[in-house]
């Protein structure tokens, strides 16, 4: 199967159910080799739900065997989703009992609040937002439930103050991403988190009332995922942006003012443009018109290129440093990077001198070419 044909088929699945999307689906069932390659790409792109729907209604032609295979894989992904939602409910309840406020991010929140049928939106982990100050307590509470971090923090308190968050794992290897902000590097540091915590949208799940981001912030977070995750966004991230931008219950004015407050208008504009272009969406909406006209600043374009390349951790650290407010904040940030905890160094099998030498070399490289990978 040619790469173009594969990409076209995946785009057709990604756009399934969007009336204004002018992507062409295959006209006949794929041959065995093409089907194998196509199916191998579906789950990593988060498309099992959309494919199941597309095959069921005939949009994507399939043989009986292919249809059965799609249904089996979709059932498997939905089983995972339900077990993750159980984990989400137990984690939020335990954290609430310890006085930790949470917001449900991505996965379950988007599935229930932004898709007509949550089965269209599978996910593979749990994502929660907590306040930076609550990160240590969050890790402690979840550790008591057997959910632990595998990697050590750079320096005690770094994640709470500067990091994007911490990843923890259950015994069954399910992942819980506990976020402090929405991206590493400058775009994450820029988010005024106090504003985020000022509001919420209810998510009723399993007899409990959870809290998610408001619609405008969910769309911005989806844009972050689409644009800031590397060179090629996951298809489901693109669909999230399209779905929310087209059908989300958000205020245009609040969306634009929030994007401005986050200094993330460039991210939103690029994400919407990418979704409209890759899914060939013909609809013209207020946000798509704005995105088409928006001109990112030179600095933001450079920053976006860094995220979309495989830029090094040092490069992102440098961009974060610029965004950290105040001299004391910047000094604390530099100190954390330059003087990690001994435990961190032991896990990475480095001496302090080796760490410093490597850091200096990578910072030098980042200064010369920020978009280059390590």
């Amino acid at each position: 199967m040619a790469v173009d044909s594969l990409n076209a088929a995946l785009a057709a699945v990604t756009a399934h159910g969007l009336p204004g999307a002018e992507v062409s689906a295959p006209r006949t069932p794929l041959d065995d080799d093409s089907w194998t390659l196509f199916l191998a790409n579906v789950a990593p792109q988060g498309l099992s739900g959309l494919l199941a729907a597309a095959v069921s209604d005939g949009t994507i032609p399939a043989t009986e065997a292919q249809r059965a295979e799609v249904h089996d894989r979709h059932l498997s992904s939905m089983v995972t989703v339900l077990l993750l939602e159980r984990l989400l409910l137990e984690s939020v309840e335990a954290l609430a009992a310890a006085g930790v406020e949470t917001r449900v991010l991505k996965g379950s929140a988007v599935a229930h609040l932004d898709y007509a049928d949550p089965a269209l939106r599978p996910f593979r982990d749990v994502d929660l937002l907590v306040r930076g100050d609550d990160l240590p307590r969050t890790v402690d509470v979840l550790r008591q439930a057997g959910i632990v971090a595998r990697a050590n923090e750079l320096r005690r308190g770094f994640a709470s103050r500067f990091g994007k968050g911490i990843t923890l794992y259950t015994h069954e290897a399910y992942e819980i991403d506990v976020h402090r902000t929405f991206a590493h590097g400058a775009f994450g540091t820029r988010v005024p988190l106090g504003d985020v915590w000022d509001g919420q949208q209810e998510l009723r799940l399993g007899g409990q009332v959870l809290h998610a981001l408001r619609a405008e912030e969910r769309l911005l977070h989806a844009a972050f995922h689409c644009v800031l995750g590397g060179p090629a966004p996951k298809a489901i991230s693109v669909r999230d942006v399209a779905e929310m931008a087209l059908y989300g219950d958000y205020s245009q004015d609040r969306l634009r003012s929030t994007a401005r407050a986050w200094r993330a208008e460039a991210v939103l504009a690029v994400a919407v443009r990418h979704a409209w272009r890759s899914l060939r969406i013909a609809d013209i909406t207020a946000v798509s018109s704005w995105a088409a006209r928006y001109e990112p600043t030179l600095a933001d374009r450079r920053l976006l290129r860094m995220y979309q390349s495989d830029a090094s951790y040092a490069a992102h650290a440098m961009s974060s440093l610029r965004a950290v407010p105040g001299v004391r904040g910047k000094a604390a940030f530099i100190q954390s990077l330059a003087l990690p905890d001994q435990r961190f160094l032991e896990v990475h099998e480095m001496t302090r001198v080796q760490w410093l030498r490597r850091g200096v070399a990578r910072v030098g490289q980042a200064l010369r070419d920020p978009e280059r990978g390590p």
Partner: protein
């Protein structure tokens, strides 16, 4: 006295093309319910009597109520035993 049936809020679930997959509140093994079970689960979004459920499913499948009555009751018993459907008993008002 009349009894009504309704999905438990604590039951997590997702639709699948030919049915619904359910995770009971007490249990770690999701269960797929297919065929008429999908329509029954959809109808259990509110408190409903068995008779109401039988009528709804019969209408949905273009069958007479007596043709689906036994299957609906068996499915309902199964969902109740799984812990995903709650039973409420209402005192009839005079």
């Amino acid at each position: 006295m009349r009894q009504t049936y309704r999905r438990r809020d604590q039951a997590l679930w997702r639709s699948i093309p030919d049915g619904v997959v359910l995770l009971p509140p007490a249990g770690n093994d999701p269960v797929a319910v297919r065929g008429p079970g999908q329509a029954l689960w959809a109808a259990l979004d509110e408190h409903r009597t068995v008779e109401d459920l039988v009528e709804r499913l019969a209408a949905g499948f273009g069958a007479a109520p007596e043709q689906v009555d036994q299957e609906v009751r068996q499915l309902l018993d199964h969902l109740v035993s799984m812990g995903v459907v709650e039973v409420e008993t209402w005192r009839s008002t005079a």
